[in-house]
């Protein structure tokens, strides 16, 4: 575990409700290093890194944010919902960043398995290997998270385009069957009068996604 300047002070802060109601440690009585090391060992056994996990969680959030508060089907078996509240949270370690109160809930349709995270909890996983204590409202068990995120489809190699009106994503690799657009058709190659298959918005309403 990356050494915090004062472990005792950090543990007290994590137990308290100063940053979030209920704190980050739930009912867990284990010392912080033990919580972190145990989860790290589990993660190693699953062959995943915190960096890869965090990157996928952030991709889910980006995909689902276009739903403007409605659930989005981000893969055949995965639904995600992003809810946002106002205000910013700080990292208890600490760090200079501020974290938006954006909560993402990912659900697997076939099994009902679900995981929920916030921008802060993603940072805590990536920067500090901290999945939070047992009983904390935002703790996710690493095996659950890994299982859900391994079914996330790989990033498309050609950029996709987002309809800013309704959140529909045009993926050149898939094309648009309804409009007889073959898979592999670049967005630029779509006819000028092509419209969003979901909401009918014109081509200029689409934004390229990084």
């Amino acid at each position: 575990m990356k050494q915090a300047p004062d472990l005792k002070k950090l543990e007290e802060l994590l137990h308290s409700s100063q940053i979030v109601a209920g704190g980050f440690l739930g009912t867990d009585t284990r010392p912080l290093p033990e919580i972190i090391d145990t989860d790290a060992a589990t993660l190693r056994a699953l062959g995943m890194t915190t960096a890869e996990l965090a990157a996928r969680m952030e991709r889910v959030t980006t995909l689902a944010r276009a739903g403007q508060g409605m659930p989005v089907q981000i893969a055949p078996d995965l639904d995600a919902l992003v809810e946002e509240s106002r205000g910013l949270l700080v990292c208890p370690w600490p760090s200079p960043e501020r974290f938006a109160k954006t909560t993402t809930t990912l659900t697997q349709r076939s099994t009902g398995a679900t995981a929920r995270w916030s921008t802060l909890s993603v940072h805590l996983i990536r920067a500090h290997g901290f999945f939070q204590g047992h009983g904390s409202p935002y703790r996710i068990e690493p095996p659950t998270l890994v299982a859900l995120l391994t079914t996330l489809p790989a990033m498309p190699t050609t950029p996709t385009y987002l309809c800013q009106v309704c959140g529909y994503v045009y993926d050149p690799a898939k094309g648009d069957a309804n409009a007889a657009i073959a898979p592999g058709t670049a967005f630029e190659a779509l006819p000028d009068d092509w419209r969003c298959p979901m909401c009918g918005a014109p081509k200029r309403m689409f934004k390229k996604r990084a």
Binding site: I19, E84, R86
Partner: protein, 365 residues
Amino acid sequence: MLSFLATVGIVSAIAAALAGVLVFAERFISNYGDCTVDINAGTRTFTVKGGKALLGTLVEQKLFVPSACGGRGTCGYCKIKIPEGAGPLLPTEAPFLSAAERAANVRLACQVKVRNDIKIEVPSELLSVREFTCTVERIRPLTHDIREFRFRLLDPAEISFIAGQYVQLLAPVYPKSSEEVYRAYSIASDPRDKKAIELIVRLVPGGICTTYCFEYLKEGDPVKFNGPYGEFRMADTTAPMIMIAGGSGMAPIKCILQHMQNIGSTRAACYFFGANQVGELFEQDWMKQCEQILPHFTFVPVVARPETAWHGETGLVTQAVARAYTDLSSHEAYLCGSPGMIDACIGVLTELGMPQQKIYYDKFA
């Protein structure tokens, strides 16, 4: 045995003497004398006896620099620019400040001690922020998770604010929270009603302040808030307006609409209110009445997935806006909602020709 006791006695005496030296030093030697605090290049100055942290010094002068941890250096909220007199950067501040902030002389007010004359820069609105004590006059449910809170002011007895501004409400220590926290809420009430304010608050699951408001606050209870804050307000033009806000985001829009009624505005305005379901709509009667009072105001509720019979607009607000307009080059937009919704709206509005600088949104997060 005797030499052991003698050793203990001597060590204790030395420790006591050292403690005495420290007390003496603190009382007589670390006296920093009078220090002048200069705010915003002389806009306001005051003189204090040095030695205390800047945050506490400013709060004593009724300058409410935001803080969420009571000055303990754990929240990072109290960042202010200190061009002169702050002394070297402390290790307790460093983790909260990015490289860009450090280059701009941003410091943590709770960690910097006033030891000499000091020059600071704060947002100008901070100089007119007051702390208000009031009492809960009425709590009105609007939906299953949104309530309107009306607070009657006690001291000061009146507030002056511009429609669109917000206040920082104090949630005290209560069984689910061990710290005082401040949370921002836009004022929803009529700016002409100076003796009270109304807030529209949505219960956030696990939210410290909203849980306090919903589960503990009762009519007659005392309440404190600081304000008013914020630059979100109606621009002084005659351009037609589009307003987009759902849920508790209605608060500053409702406030602006009341201001428009007060001044007899004839500006064209269309308010798109987005909700996921019909059950999330509220204040529809108030909006219909507003349509009667303001000659060119239209209220357009937009329900994403109606769960019951619904004859109005459906889908997302962005879809409703895209259906309604082809050219927004002469319009202004006022947005209040989640960052995701705001981003989507900005994308659509700019594509429809609205200049980016005519899109106003509530940024207090």
